[in-house]
Point group: C2
Chain length 197, copies 2
């Protein structure tokens, strides 16, 4: 493995991408950043971490929404402010050393600045449904709708800020069907790849 | 490796997907089908192999073009006839046993019928340009345009027949950036994956 290995993982909801990221970081002995990105972005922006978590996947550029929520308008929408704060957090974490980062357009934010290993994880509907129910407590009758809604939000958010298509093979060095290889199988594959990268 | 392993490789022009497919088949000791698909489709349809090769990526459903070329119209466009002949060839080859197939929507054609390992290979512009020039004799000044044109044709052809997006991670079990891992590196990765699959 290189001295500094930064792995970014983008993932479909329910595909286990987050779990794969955590396990991969553990297997490689490097930090895993997910919620920590929110915490650092909160420090940088002054927003509450929970507020950031509830808003970070959205892209409403509305002046009224920004005014109503923050009480002021600086010319930058609320969601752009959150995205900017997350960009700073992600860049700062990348400077620090090897890590695994999940979500938040990290592949795009670090492009051309750091030599990252960019990964996208997806899975079949059945696999994602089962995980949404057991891991996130989504009601079985609502699972398909929740998965579709969250993936749509992620795709729109990614496209809005990166002008790239979310889940297009082109943006990643490797994409994996975790439904086929399993969570632990995917971790094994990515660990070998990271060591080769 | 399973008793029967069918690997389909879709690829961007110049990414080395075809070369990777050939080498992978050799490494696994299984047949590699590329031009053979054209030859079998020619036998099945009565068209000349060279004619199929020149037309197979196109999707013009034009009655006039079909009439002008074949002299008759059966209600099925020329390109649909070629696609149908290739479908038959691909299905017949899949019945025969383990193999590597390159291009021609094989992932879509075999979906739900055979348990295939579906792969997409892409690479950065520089890598594809260099290979287009050295491997296919494309003039340096024209390389970017040729790559863009052929990839556009492939995307349109795939989308027309599969109603799926060409190069979307979702359609493949694994996608690889051959520009990053190299031709031989990609073969090594896919060989391990095929054995795991």
């Amino acid at each position: 493995m290189k001295e500094k290995t930064i792995i970014t993982i983008s993932r479909e909801y329910g595909s286990g991408g987050r779990r794969i990221g955590e396990k991969l970081a553990l297997a490689l002995g490097i930090p895993y950043y997910d919620k920590a990105i929110i915490d650092m972005a909160a420090q940088k922006s002054g927003f509450d971490p929970e507020f950031i978590a509830s808003q970070e996947q959205k892209v409403t550029g509305s002046l009224l929404f920004t005014l109503a929520t923050t009480g002021y308008y600086t010319g930058e929408s609320l969601h752009d402010q959150i995205f900017r704060a997350e960009c700073h957090a992600i860049l700062e974490m990348a400077v620090q050393g090897s890590c695994v980062m999940v979500g938040r357009c990290a592949d795009y934010i670090l492009k051309g600045k750091f030599d990252c290993f960019n990964v996208f994880i997806h899975a079949d509907e059945e696999f994602c449904r089962a995980r949404a129910i057991t891991e996130y407590g989504v009601k079985p009758a609502e699972a398909a709708k929740v998965i579709e809604k969250i993936n749509r939000q992620r795709a729109r958010h990614y496209q809005y800020y990166s002008q790239q298509v979310w889940g297009a093979a082109k943006n990643y060095h490797m994409t994996l069907d975790s439904g086929r290889f399993g969570i632990d199988g995917s971790v094994e594959i990515l660990k070998s790849m990271a060591e080769l990268f």
